[in-house]
Every structure is written in C-alpha cells, then in structure tokens.
Symmetry: C2
Subunit: 222 residues, 2 copies
C-alpha cells in the first residue's frame, strides 16, 4: 500500500504544481495544510523534520521518505508512477527544453515576484517590465501549440499554470493587463483552467488578492 | 555520425561538469573555448545564437541542437547515451536526493561564491561562514561513502568536484583552510582527482588564482 502525503500551503504555486501532477496521474494522496509558512515556530514538526534545509513547502512524503523542491518532486512522481500518462516528453531534447524554461521561469519569478506586490514606484515598474518580458518569451515558446507540451498538457504546463492565480493581484497592484500584453498566453491559461486537475487546484484569484493584502499588513509593507 | 560540440571557458566549473560527464561516458566531442565570457561583444556568434537567453557557457550542441544549463546538460547526456555507465542512480529517490543537493550547492555558490573573492571585511566573513557550512552539510551527506554516488563516482560527484579548483583561491583570499574545516570532504576531493576524467578537466589551482587576480584588476575590485 502506497502512502503519499503532501505538505502544502494554499497560496503556494509550487505546492499547486505537485497537486496538479498527482491529480493528472490519478495518485491518491493525503494533503496536509500548514498553518503558517512565514515563521518557523508556526510550522509543523513534520515539515521541519522533512525539509530541514529549507523548511519550506511543498514536501512530498512517499512511504515515509521526504522529497523536497517542486521540480524535483515532479521528476520523482513521473519516474515512480511510470504507468500513468507521462509528464515528461520521451525525447531527451524536449525534456531538456522543458527543464530549461521551468528553471528560467523560477529564476525570474524569484527575482521579480515579490517586487510586484511588495514594492512601489520604479522598482515595481522594473519588476513589471521584467515579468511581462518573461511572459512574452514563454508565449513565443508556446507558439501555435495548444499546450507547452504540444498536444498534451505536460510538465511545462503544470509548472507554469499555478502562478496565473496571482495575475489578478499583480494586475491590480501594478496596473497592467496580462490579457493586453500576452493574449495568446491568456488563451493557454483558459485552456488549462478547463482541466479538472487545474480547476480543482488553483485558488480563487480574489482570495489570493485578499491574502496578499493581509501579508502586506502583517509585515507592514506599504 | 554524432556531432557533439561543447562551448566553454576554462575557469567555469559548470563547463567542467559537462567535460567530466562526457569523458566518463567516453563520448567524443569538440571543445570550443570562448575568448572572453564577461562581455557580450567578445562572445562567439555561436554562443550568442545557441544561448540567447543567458548568453553563457556551457552550451552542448548535439547534432546542431543546443542544450544550456549544466545540470540540464548532464541529464540530457545521461538520457541520450544510455548504454554507458549511468550518471544518475536508477532509484528515483536517490535521483531526487542528488538533484536536491546539486540545486542546494548551486544556490549557495551563487549567493556566496563571488563574495568570497570580490568582497572584504564582514561581507567576506559572512560568505566564508556560509560556504563552510555548505561544505559541512555536504560532508555529512557524503558520510562514510567513498563517493556521493556510493561506490560509484556519479552525478553529485561530477557536479561538485569542479568548484574545488577554486579552493586555493578562496583559502588564500579569505584566510581559512578547507582541509581543517572539512577533512573528510578533502579526502573525497583527492579520491576524485585520481580519476582521469577529473584530472584531465580541472585546471591548475594556481592558474585559477592568477586569473581571479586578473579579473579583480580588470573590473577594479580591490
């Protein structure tokens, strides 16, 4: 009997990646929500023990063994549950390309993600330009395909779609429209949202917005 | 006929990873040294075309197709040349662990690597503490095994060993001894250096030191 536990937090796009992958694969799992992900003292013992280096969600605990870092977890899931629809292309070159774009996207969102909602003025404008530029590059990579994975919703789609639940927050706080900047990217977003794995996983963008406002208040970010 | 070209620069540990992997696999390749990796105007057309996003080495060009980012290249090599000794463990859990430690090491060396040779005073001391702490964690992960890969020199060994050619530079500029701090880690370094793939790839630490002094001079870093 397989025991699969996912430690998560509802606004984390990295956790959403793992949830979507598990749902796409049809893997039964137990989800445990962390109470708070900002202060170590509020984190569960299980999280602190399972990810002593970063103390961050997501952690996938498979038969007692913890696996950390979302992309590494996606690779693990695809390697262990091979009998289901594969998330990674069978072609090493396309696998490399998907890994490259996920890495690129993660680096970009790390550098400009927080600036979009926590900064003001020039810093925020620079982050907005960087973010839109990143989306345009991805839009270009998507091209005329229905999904980044081609005809199939696959790894890169799973890795990118969760952040889109923050678009409303970014647009509201930074005064821009992703739809205007990247209409084809938004077509892809709507296409993905029609999948059960995605619609069941992504939270309401309005609730995400309220949460970000709460975080700003908690940490006294104007 | 396979055409394998590696675009590199002699002091880049990321390039060394790829070289070692190719040598371990016994894959014939053509190596092209970049003249300068600091200014885009001095980079080769081939590099700028093959890695338009980052414009950085290493790039592996396999039958005309470019693959960027060292870890992604290692995964690609292992997936394409399957018939040779595998770099990745066959066990998904150990693969995940190796990926985790490489990612951790890359993040740490990105945050404290340059500070070790380009900063002074408190910033340098903080970077030194962070770097030693990182090595101690890796030493702990190594445990009593001859290699990170267990009995075999494998992925994590290949990913970590190149940075050790900078240890002399770090020790000289920051006044500390890796041997004193992490003796078991240094035993592993000597073990790896006995392999032809490693000894043929890693440059002379004294030349690396001279190069770093030149770079400091060029960019007027005191």
């Amino acid at each position: 009997m397989e025991e699969v536990v996912l430690l998560g937090f509802w606004t984390s796009p990295y956790v959403m990646r793992v949830k979507i992958a598990l749902l796409e694969k049809g893997i039964e799992f137990q989800y445990r929500e962390e109470r708070d992900v900002f202060e170590d003292k509020n984190k569960s013992e299980l999280l602190l023990e399972s990810n002593p280096i970063y103390k961050k969600v997501p952690v996938l605990i498979h038969n007692g063994k913890p696996i950390c870092e979302s992309l590494i977890i996606l690779e693990y899931i695809d390697e262990v549950w091979k009998q289901e629809q594969q998330l990674f292309s069978a072609d090493p070159y396309y696998r490399a390309k998907a890994r490259f774009w996920i890495d690129f996207f993660d680096k970009k969102t790390t550098t400009c993600g927080k600036k979009l909602w926590a900064n003001k003025g020039e810093d925020q404008d620079a982050a907005k330009r960087e973010f839109v530029e990143c989306l345009k590059l991805l839009e270009n990579e998507l091209g005329e395909k229905p999904y980044f994975g081609g005809d199939h919703f696959a790894l890169l789609d799973i890795a990118l779609i969760p952040i889109t639940c923050r678009f409303y927050t970014y647009e509201k706080l930074c005064k821009f429209s992703v739809e205007e900047e990247c209409p084809k990217f938004m077509e892809w977003v709507r296409r993905c949202n029609m999948r059960e794995s995605v619609s069941k996983t992504l939270p309401d963008p309005f609730k995400v917005f309220d949460f970000v406002l709460e975080v700003k208040k908690r940490f006294q970010i104007q």
